[in-house]
Amino acid sequence: MARKITFQQAVNEALAQEMERDETVVLMGEDIAGGTGGEGEMDAWGGPLGITKGLYSKFGDRVMDTPISESAFVGAAVGAATAGLRPVVELMFIDFMGVCFDQMFNQAAKFRYMFGGKAETPVVVRTMFGAGLRAAAQHSQCLYPVFTHIPGLKVVVPATPYDVKGLLIQSIRDNDPVIFCEHKMLYTLEGEVPEEPYTIPFGEANITREGGDVTIVTLGRMVHIANEAATNLAKDGIECEVIDLRTTSPMDQDSILESVESTGRLVVLDEATPRCNIATDISALVCQEAFDALKAPIRMVTAPHVPVPFNDTLEDLYIPDAAKVETAVRAVMEHRQ
């Protein structure tokens, strides 16, 4: 039965249900319980935002605090995944990939191919990303394009409480390494979520709004910005089709191409910085596969090519908003062939 819970509660529930179902699922990360070794409360934090709060109380030492040693514990999660566990390891902020990237892209991503198909590495790296929390340049980036570039990794970027639960359960049950990217501004978002466990397959985009004039392809927090823009544009009679990718690897190319074949116009909205991001990738795909369908040049709405600023006015300017999306949509609508 569905009821309204937050994105954050949906993550916690997915983890709890999978840990109940499968004893080999273990969690590790910095302060995911909090309090280990101290004289005060155990399970004091549940991660810095309380996402995993309560899981230690339910599952005891299957929820493991770690030293601040991302290379060691992300690598340990990868090693444990080849040896019979299904670790879900929390990389507190995606920006911290800089100190453990080898374990993800040279180790986990490569084993299956490099060992001739004989290795499975069922590890999930849950990580928080995105701007909006005034967390500045080293805690706010959208680095999913970096992981999407690497063959052997699956990359998930959920947008809603319903999706985050279903996609996280799918990730834990998957036998390949998954980078699971949670936008920090979505944790308090509420939505209908079934109580029982369910999965959402990778590589199936979600069309959040149908429309015949312009296709907007997006992901993560930007899905909500796209929907807001589409609602505003509809008042002027412009009907947008909004595609939430859900996963960038694998990517649902068919849904993108079918929509562009129908609308003939494309705006790609991506919070990542503009070079070699998801927006450029999709633009290239559409140019190659559906060029003849296009009635106007593709427009990309992204962050500017700068680090994320701290100041709130500057950060708000940095993040793509509905107004920028509306401008892009109007531009493609007004283009004359």
Binding site: A72, K118, G152
Partner: protein
């Protein structure tokens, strides 16, 4: 620990097989028929054999660039290994891994590794899995003197102690990280000195002496199996060849290798000890020498004759294609 005669013969067979494998690769690589790089383990055999003699299938090892010896000692198929190094379809990884990525998870061999220091966190993970699953297994991280300076190794030593993991770190100090002397690149006298700082025992052993390695490894592995936590063993010895094949080794003293081969060879020392103590006959060792040579002859011939992977293999063993 007293070794049975069967164990002595097994240890000698492992070391001789590794030596024969590596000496053959040295010759074969010079023909130009082996693609890529190979990093030979000749001279270091007592370490792989001395450690892996204590391990069973449920135990895991994470290896290094110089992984052929560890693989053979852990039970990987020698024919499939040779075919892999030639890049053939019959190779242990279907020709997709090569020398630096030889692995056989079914044998508990988690892979040679192209990234220096990357094995330590993986071994921690395998040790964690053994502990959680309660299967009595241990994990061994083989680390070179180069890898001993990587942050991954420092972090892993700490994590292994903090989590009390059944993990043993075997630091194989062959004197050179690529072309740089470990006497210069390691800031303390012995890598084993660092173990204490991570809350675990650390010992230095003479890596030319199988029995010294075997005894130290036995203690460390027993400690790990008993839930008493991780240990470090620093094995000091030398390598007979360069960092990789083709390395002219001008950074070494002119007669260094010749002297060590003549006075410190682990196979010679082993043979001398066991025959002097009348534990094994010289003829029994000679028979193993012949068998190892025949095995490597056959493995090399089969690897050379084996087909390359088909073009379709390019796109298999990865979950997605665009």
């Amino acid at each position: 620990m007293q070794l049975s005669k069967d164990d002595l013969l097994k240890a000698y067979r492992i070391m001789r097989t590794v030596r024969e494998f590596e000496e053959r690769l040295h010759v074969e690589f010079a023909t130009g028929d082996i693609p890529g790089f190979v990093h030979l383990y000749a001279g270091e055999e007592a370490s792989a054999a001395g450690v892996c003699m204590h391990l069973t299938l449920k135990d895991k090892i994470a290896s290094t660039h110089r992984g052929h010896g560890h693989s053979i000692a852990k039970g990987c198929d020698v024919h499939a290994m040779m075919a892999e190094i030639f890049g053939k379809a019959s190779g242990l990884c279907g020709g997709k891994g090569g020398s630096m990525h030889i692995a056989d998870l079914d044998k508990g061999m988690m892979g040679a590794n192209g990234i220096v220091g990357a094995g330590s966190p993986l071994a921690c993970g395998a040790a964690l899995a053994a502990k959680r699953l309660g299967n009595g297994g241990v994990a061994v991280a083989f680390v070179g003197d180069g890898g001993s300076n990587q942050g991954t190794t420092f972090e892993s030593l700490n994590l292994a102690s903090v989590w009390n993991l059944p993990c043993v770190f075997v630091v194989e100090n062959n004197g050179y990280a690529e072309a740089t002397s470990s006497k210069w690149s390691i800031a303390c006298d012995d890598v084993a000195d660092r173990a204490n700082g991570f809350g675990m025992p650390g010992v230095v052993v003479d890596g030319h002496d199988f029995f010294a390695v075997h005894e130290a490894a036995g203690e460390a592995i027993k400690r790990a199996r008993n839930g008493e936590g991780p240990s470090m063993i620093e094995v000091k010895f030398t390598r007979y060849y360069g960092h990789f094949e083709g390395d002219a080794q001008t950074y070494r003293a002119a007669d260094e290798i010749k002297t060590l081969r003549g006075t410190k060879d682990c196979l010679d020392i082993f043979a001398e000890k066991v025959t002097a103590a009348a534990l094994v006959e010289q003829a029994e060792l000679a028979a193993i020498d012949e068998e190892a040579k025949a095995l490597i002859d056959d493995a090399t011939a089969q690897a050379r004759a084996a087909p390359n992977p088909g073009a379709a293999e390019l796109l298999t063993d990865v979950y997605i294609s665009y």
